[in-house]
């Protein structure tokens, strides 16, 4: 019997769960510690992803191409960045949510620079993260980081856009 890649991944996952379960049962220390990390991270992400993807689906059917092109397309300048960064700041779930959103934006007519600025900004200026950072590491750490980050987000997105356009690169479409 030949398993597809997805089935293999599910199988590996089930085996890992079984390993964690046995670890807890027999108090196998490394397995238990791994399990604690796993539960924290897994519940967090598994709770975020389904609603996030429902929103992405709704975006796909409702967002008009002209609107995305107007705000994030070829002629969108600084305002496009403003929108991209605002959208990123309110994105929850980190890269795992930002990447599919970026892909959807791209296929609705957003230019590379905006898509890439969005992904970088989603890593650097997400509001919940930023608040937590300021509380723990101090507001000045966060302010310096943000002030340095934002120009870098824009400059890097333009450089990457140039690089990708020069090679005539297209982002993969979702099958």
């Amino acid at each position: 019997m030949k398993l597809t890649k997805a089935q293999q991944n599910y199988l590996i996952f089930l085996l890992f769960i079984a390993f964690l379960g046995l670890s807890f049962l027999f108090k196998y220390e490394p397995g238990v510690r791994m399990g604690h990390n796993f539960i924290l991270f897994a519940t967090d992400m598994l709770l975020i992803l389904p609603p996030a993807f429902v929103l992405i689906g709704l975006f796909d059917v409702w967002a008009k191409r002209e609107v995305i092109e107007r705000h994030f397309g070829e002629d969108s300048g600084l305002r496009g960045y403003l929108w991209a960064i605002l959208l990123a700041a309110t994105t929850v779930g980190g890269a795992l949510v930002a990447l599919p959103v970026a892909n959807a934006l791209y296929h609705k007519g957003a230019r590379y620079a905006m898509v890439l600025a969005y992904v970088s900004a989603a890593a650097l200026v997400m509001i919940p993260m930023t608040i937590m950072e300021a509380t723990i590491l101090g507001p000045s750490f966060t302010v310096v980081r943000l002030v340095v980050s934002l120009p870098l987000v824009i400059i890097s997105s333009l450089l990457l856009e140039k690089f990708l356009l020069r090679s005539g690169y297209l982002l993969p479409a979702e099958k």
Binding site: K5, D44, M132
Partner: protein, 158 residues
């Protein structure tokens, strides 16, 4: 988290009111996308658990060394190859700072943690393709270095 569910619910209801067939198509589309990355995502969860298990000790042990350059390089490396949610990474960063680890080392670690994804490579590849994924991650590494330097300058560490 709760806010996300409320926003989603409100938007779904709104969307249903305006056009129920379109809404159904949208939700089905979203869930299909979710189902498509779910297997890679589950595998990622395993990697995260295993890598965190081995790197937690490394993180507090090696980031705190006296050599700033080595500290930053370690921060960048561990930040790139590991992945953890903010509610783990920031408390950890707080502990590092309390232990006397330089702010710029902490910055190199948290920035690369958020921006550079070795573990998420298979997932990023399916949305961005190989070339854009590599280019983005390399650029992000450079950004992490610049941010770390800026933080170092600000705190007078260099």
């Amino acid at each position: 988290m709760l806010a996300l569910y409320i926003v989603t619910l409100v938007l779904v209801v709104l969307s249903l009111v305006v056009d129920s067939t379109k809404t159904a198509v949208g939700i089905r589309l979203g869930l299909k996308k979710f189902q498509k990355i779910l297997p890679s995502f589950l595998k990622l969860l395993i990697f995260v658990a295993v890598v965190l298990f081995f790197s937690e000790g490394l993180i507090s042990e090696y980031l705190g060394q006296d050599n700033l350059l080595l500290g930053i390089l370690t921060g960048l490396t561990l930040g790139s190859v590991t992945m953890m949610p903010g509610f783990i990474s920031y408390p950890l960063a707080g502990v590092l700072v309390e232990k006397g680890v330089a702010y710029m080392v902490v910055a190199s670690f948290v920035t690369s943690l958020m921006m550079v994804g070795v573990l998420t490579y298979p997932i990023e590849k399916s949305y961005f393709g190989v070339r854009a994924t590599l280019a983005r991650n390399l650029t992000s590494l450079v950004i992490a270095v610049i941010i770390s330097l800026a933080i170092g300058l600000f705190y007078g560490e260099i």
